[in-house]
């Protein structure tokens, strides 16, 4: 009898030990690989009816589970003014770790890599309206994550233009974000730093504002022809160039060409829409004025 009890205790303690020793989030990160990210279902646990409803659908009724196969799934309750019990609940899941930056709304499904980088997130009423919509979106992120990891692996083993080309391709993946240090800690290329630095491109654009239009044109062409920048970066540099041309009396034809180029790089992106809006806002009136004066 003694032996039976002892064996039972041995087995039970061994099973429970990992849970007692580390927060669930850390354990989940430990299980993540470049094929298997962590999917966090973060929800407002004590203040939000939408979260409660989605938790019921996604988790209790397991509607989300088939979409997150191949990932480590973890629920994270987020509390408003938590009491002691709620603080303990949260700490049980997250320990002392923070949720990754870039989550803007709860409930959400956040895809996180083993280093705790947010690689994609399904959030907002439209994306989170039901399990099917959210599940499809998160499934897409997981697939893109795997592909992006492959590209980053290639980038790490390559060098020079080939490396930046791989990085650009990885940055162009539509549904996933680049990790903070795509080439590993302390290593960065021009693209590596620009891809993760919002002000980097702005500085490049500002430098251009001091150039003549011809010099700016040459600068942009050289920039694009390097072939190692992401679609977004190319759109941004063209946006800066277009602004410079517009403010310095460039012709309607020239502006239309620039904005068309900007839009066609990626029409579905925010800067694709910006280019379209810019044509309506500035180019069309110029063309109409020109047509009016000819008549």
């Amino acid at each position: 009898m003694f032996r039976v009890i002892s064996m039972f205790l041995f087995v039970a303690t061994a099973i429970l030990a990992p849970r007692l020793g580390a927060a669930e989030y850390q354990t989940a990160l430990g299980k993540a690989t470049d094929r298997k990210p962590v999917v966090l279902f973060c929800y407002g646990a004590n203040y939000d009816r939408i979260s409660e409803q989605l938790r019921e659908d996604f988790v209790s009724r397991r509607q989300i589970m088939r979409y997150v196969r191949g990932a480590v799934f973890l629920e994270v309750p987020v509390y408003q003014l938590p009491n002691e019990r709620e603080q303990r609940e949260y700490r049980k899941v997250m320990g002392d770790a923070s949720l990754p930056g870039g989550i803007w709304s709860y409930p959400c499904l956040a895809v996180v890599d083993g280093q705790g980088n947010l690689r994609g997130v399904v959030q907002g009423a439209e994306q989170m309206k039901d399990a099917e919509t959210a599940g499809t979106a998160v499934q897409q992120i997981i697939e893109d994550y795997r592909e992006q990891e492959e590209l980053l692996k290639k980038a790490r083993s390559a060098s020079g233009p080939r490396q930046t080309a791989f990085l650009a391709e990885a940055a162009d993946m539509p549904n996933v974000r680049m990790p903070a240090n795509p080439l590993g800690q302390g290593v960065s290329t021009g693209l590596g730093s620009l891809a993760t630095n919002a002000t980097g491109m702005l500085e490049v654009g500002q430098k251009m504002q001091e150039m003549s239009l011809d010099a700016a044109h040459r600068f942009v062409r050289a920039f694009i022809s390097e072939g190692c920048y992401s679609r977004r970066q190319r759109q941004e540099i063209i946006a800066a160039y277009a602004g410079h041309v517009r403010r310095n009396g460039g012709s309607a034809a020239r502006l239309r060409a620039i904005y068309n180029e900007m839009r066609n790089i990626d029409p579905t992106s925010i800067y694709g829409a910006y280019a379209e809006g810019a044509i309506e806002r500035w180019v069309l009136p110029m063309e109409q004025r020109a047509a009016g004066s000819q008549q």
């Binding site: 509390y79 949260y90 009423a125 919002a198």
Partner: protein
């Protein structure tokens, strides 16, 4: 048995160690290559605010732009209907953006415009008296309220408030009292209703004794009658008739005035300005949602939206859209649960939020409600979801319509969405944070600071600031037209204690009713009861002051009693509010009635005694001190007052800097046209410097002394008071030597002596609270050992130095904190009066951190010298500034000796 127990424990211990070992091995084995199992993680609060500080260039890519965007055949982009998913605001027009201008409505304001101007004191409104016979017994001014009566009022008010609370608790947060005395049609004759109510109420109140009043308020039916008659008094007969002319106006009035909870919510939850218009708006909602109006939450949303939109003078269409937004969001369970239990006054802050066509438009609110859902404390960090960008990626300024213009069609003119895609500066970031909270029903508001916009969100009952960089905050949503932080906290505390506040408001309503019936004595006693039962009731204090002014303008005893009560109660926590009340409404009447200097100073000292710290927030004590000193009839008394004030306040570390600054400002404001004024100015200056010299700078007080002197030296520089600037600088060097750097600069000077050491230096920038305590280092910039002053250059502003005397200049050396760029185009200008400036031919060279401007060719004579530069505003700070030359007086002396 015991051996077995030991064996069992040992076995369990071994099992635990084994278990941990197994789990560790498992973790190591399953860790991805290149990652360490012991990777450090940042600590975070338990409820994690989504940290969006890393909103990088890729982050906005993550917004799924593919939804709702289709590519035209020619490669263009157009919108489809799926964009409106989640924006189910009733009456929203799909083409709303088309009619709007091209983004001008979304232009960021000039940051300087966010700080509201201090409101002029609202005029005290007299109470109109009805033409009724005067009762001689009522035409006396009662004396000081005896302590026994004060205690009795406090006791009875507490008892009554507890009874209200009990009643609510037993009825799910409501009194549920209903009495349908006045049918809809009867409201077409409000004069008849008024007379009936008046007769009923006055009959029950009898002679207006305390006992009669407490007994009256104990009955819900009486309270309902009081609210009804107050409503008619505030709106007037004509106003009521106009409401009955609206569609379902009479029915709404009937419902409103039959339900104690609803009418209390309207009458006692904040200001009732333009209440007539508010009820016209309420009728507009009622006529469209009459069936929903049985729901107490619908009533609360309707009443608060209607009253606030009327008060803010927004249109009916905007009001209806706002109501529809909050009501539908509530029904669909999309608001934070906090909203369910908000009181009327709190709901007014939410549903009455400003900018109904920009950040507060239904589209923008709905977008934030659906896309920025966070716990209340999370909104304090939501401002970081926007990228801070003065110029967008195309180089367009945030202050122009071009910044967001091209994207507005894509974002369907949704202000919050457009800014999240493109970015913004302090105004947009703060609005995004505040309106994110408001969109889900959490009280929040933006606030102005000098040259900046910040915001505050209420978490629990605690207003927390975000994005704030200065101590001055001008709230953008106020109940009483006063923008300081202290008034926001006063409002919170007042209504948190809401049952007592309702009692106080009812006493105030009774006081005004009695005043209108020429029952002066009872009215004054009732005003007393209103402020004693709830000393935080700001409107009651103001109304009481107005009535005192009307009925007893020269009754010192009454004014003194009022003053002492304010100091004893309101000033205990709310120093700024009490100071505002006293300076605006009490001192102008009371001080002329107190001829004795000692009595006055005693009164002032009582106030200062309450102010050990700043209270809820730092505040500007200057207006209070100016009100005090303005009450002094002659120069001698003014000096005595200043001495007294400095003596008292210099011992309070938080106030010492501010009081010194005020003293220096006050001196500067005195006209120097007469001999007497000059003497006064001289004496004031001496007094201030003497007071400062007394300030001790021990190890424990050195920081406070340093900060106080810093604030004073900054004020003297702003006022152009060179002598005081130098005096404070030397004093600071004596008292706080350790705070000064001990640089040994090596640079090449110019012929002559350094003529700027006894001068005054000014920078073109506004200092942040962090920089303010270190202003004595500005003085040190002119000294051999060097100091530190922020260097900002903009147009005709740069570094300006006033010399001790007119001097013949040979050169200027400016030492920067870091190496300066060599391509900077520095120039020197000089002036004799500090007003009219002339450029000087100078050869300026930058070498490392040293700028040398050679003036020997021009050799100008001047009293003022300034260094200017074109281009970017900022340079690294200046650590040394030296003007070389020869004082002209000295030259003249030398010449005459020759």
């Amino acid at each position: 048995m015991s051996t077995n127990l030991v064996r069992l424990l040992a076995f369990v211990l071994a099992a635990m160690v084994g278990g941990y070992l197994v789990s560790w091995l498992y973790e190591v084995a399953s860790a991805p290559s290149g990652s360490s199992p012991s990777r450090p993680v940042a600590s975070a609060p338990v409820t994690q605010t989504p940290d969006a500080s890393s909103s990088d260039s890729t982050s906005s890519d993550e917004i799924d732009t593919s939804q709702g965007v289709v590519i035209d055949e020619d490669g263009g982009v157009s919108m489809n209907d799926s964009d409106m998913v989640g924006m189910d605001v009733e009456g929203e027009d799909d083409t709303a953006w088309e009619g709007a201008d091209d983004g001008d409505g979304a232009i960021e304001q000039d940051p300087n415009s966010y700080m509201p101007q201090p409101a002029p004191p609202a005029p005290l409104r007299e109470i109109a008296e009805a033409d009724v016979p005067e009762d001689p017994a009522q035409q006396v001014i009662p004396g000081v309220c005896p302590t026994a009566r004060v205690r009795s009022i406090e006791r009875n008010a507490k008892k009554l408030a507890e009874a209200y609370e009990r009643l609510e608790k037993s009825n799910d947060g409501r009194t549920n009292f209903r009495s349908e005395d006045y049918a809809p049609d009867r409201w077409k004759q409000p004069d008849v209703i008024y007379k009936e109510l008046l007769e009923k109420i006055m009959g029950k109140l009898g002679n207006g004794s305390d006992e009669a009043i407490w007994a009256f308020l104990a009955e819900p039916a009486n309270r309902l009658d009081l609210a009804r008659i107050t409503l008619i008094r505030k709106i007037g007969y004509e106003g009521i008739r106009r409401i009955t002319e609206q569609r379902m106006g009479s029915a709404m009035l009937f419902e409103l005035t039959s339900d104690l909870d609803w009418i209390n919510g309207v009458m006692y939850s904040g200001p009732t300005d333009r209440l007539g218009q508010g009820l016209i708006y309420l009728a507009a909602i009622y006529s469209r949602y009459s069936e929903d109006m049985q729901d107490p939450v619908a009533r609360r949303i309707a009443a608060t939206t209607a009253t606030e939109f009327a008060r803010e003078r927004y249109s009916e269409a905007d009001m209806l859209a706002r109501f529809a937004y909050y009501f539908s969001s509530f029904q669909e369970g999309k608001l934070n649960k906090i909203f369910d239990t908000l009181q009327y006054w709190e709901t007014r802050i939410v549903t009455g939020c400003r900018e109904p066509s920009g950040w507060g438009s239904p589209q923008s609110l709905a977008w934030q409600r659906d896309n920025v859902r966070l716990p209340a404390e999370g909104y304090l960090g939501a401002c970081n979801q926007l990228v801070y960008r003065l110029r967008n990626v195309a180089g367009d300024s945030v202050f122009s319509a071009d910044y967001l213009g091209p994207i507005l069609k894509y974002t369907r003119n949704t202000t919050a969405w457009a800014h999240r895609e493109i970015g913004g500066v302090c105004g947009a970031c703060s609005h995004y944070g505040a309106y994110g909270a408001l969109a889900v029903g959490i009280p929040a508001m933006t606030m102005g600071e000098p040259g900046h916009c910040a915001y505050t969100v209420r978490v629990g009952n605690d207003w927390r600031m975000s994005y704030s960089i200065y101590w001055q905050h001008g709230m953008h949503k106020t109940f009483w037209g006063l923008h300081d932080w202290d008034f926001l906290i006063l409002m919170q505390d007042l209504y948190t204690d809401r049952h007592k506040t309702v009692v106080s408001d009812q006493l105030l309503a009774l006081a005004e009713l009695m005043a209108s019936r020429r029952m002066t004595k009872s009215a004054l006693e009732c005003f007393d009861a209103a402020v004693i039962s709830q000393p935080l009731n700001w409107p009651a204090w103001v109304a009481y002051a107005a009535y005192l002014k009307q009925k007893a303008p020269e009754n010192r005893e009454k004014w003194q009693d009022y003053h002492d009560r304010v100091v004893e109660t309101l000033a205990e926590k709310f120093h700024n509010c009490a100071a505002t009340l006293l300076s605006r409404y009490v001192y102008p009447h009371l001080l002329p009635l107190v001829p004795n200097r000692r009595d006055r100073n005693k009164m002032f000292a009582a106030f200062f005694k309450q102010c050990d710290s700043y209270g809820t927030n730092r505040w500007d004590i200057g207006p209070l001190l100016t009100a005090h000193i303005s009450g002094c009839p002659n120069t001698e008394e003014q000096l005595a007052y200043m001495k007294e004030a400095l003596n008292v306040l210099m011992d309070k570390p938080e106030y010492s800097g501010a009081v010194l600054a005020w003293g220096l400002d006050y001196i500067a404001s005195i006209s120097t046209s007469t001999e007497e004024n000059e003497r006064l100015q001289e004496e004031f200056s001496e007094l201030i410097v003497k007071t400062m010299s007394r300030a001790r700078a021990t190890r424990s007080t050195i920081d406070a002394t340093w900060a106080a002197l810093g604030e004073a030296i900054y004020t003297s520089a702003t006022n152009g008071d060179r002598r005081t600037f130098q005096a404070i600088g030397r004093l600071a060097y004596r008292k706080c030597k350790k705070k000064f750097p001990r640089n040994r600069f090596r640079f090449r000077g110019f012929p002559g002596r350094i003529v700027s050491a006894n001068g005054l230096i000014r920078t073109a920038t506004t200092l942040s609270p962090g920089q303010m305590p270190h202003c004595c280092l500005h003085w040190a910039v002119l000294q051999k050992h060097g100091g530190n002053i922020p260097a900002k250059f903009e147009g005709n502003s740069g570094m300006t130095v006033e010399l001790e005397d007119n001097s013949r200049l040979s050169g200027v050396v400016c030492l920067f904190g870091e190496n300066a760029r060599r391509d900077r185009d520095f120039k020197i200008e000089v002036s004799d009066d500090g007003q009219n400036w002339a450029p000087v031919r100078a050869t300026c060279e930058v070498s490392g951190a040293v700028l040398r401007c050679d003036l020997r060719d021009a050799s100008p004579s001047a009293r003022f010298v300034r260094l200017l530069r074109e281009g970017d505003k900022w340079e690294s700070s200046v650590v040394g500034f030296y003007v070389y030359g020869k004082r002209l007086r000295e030259s003249a002396n030398t010449a005459s000796e020759d």
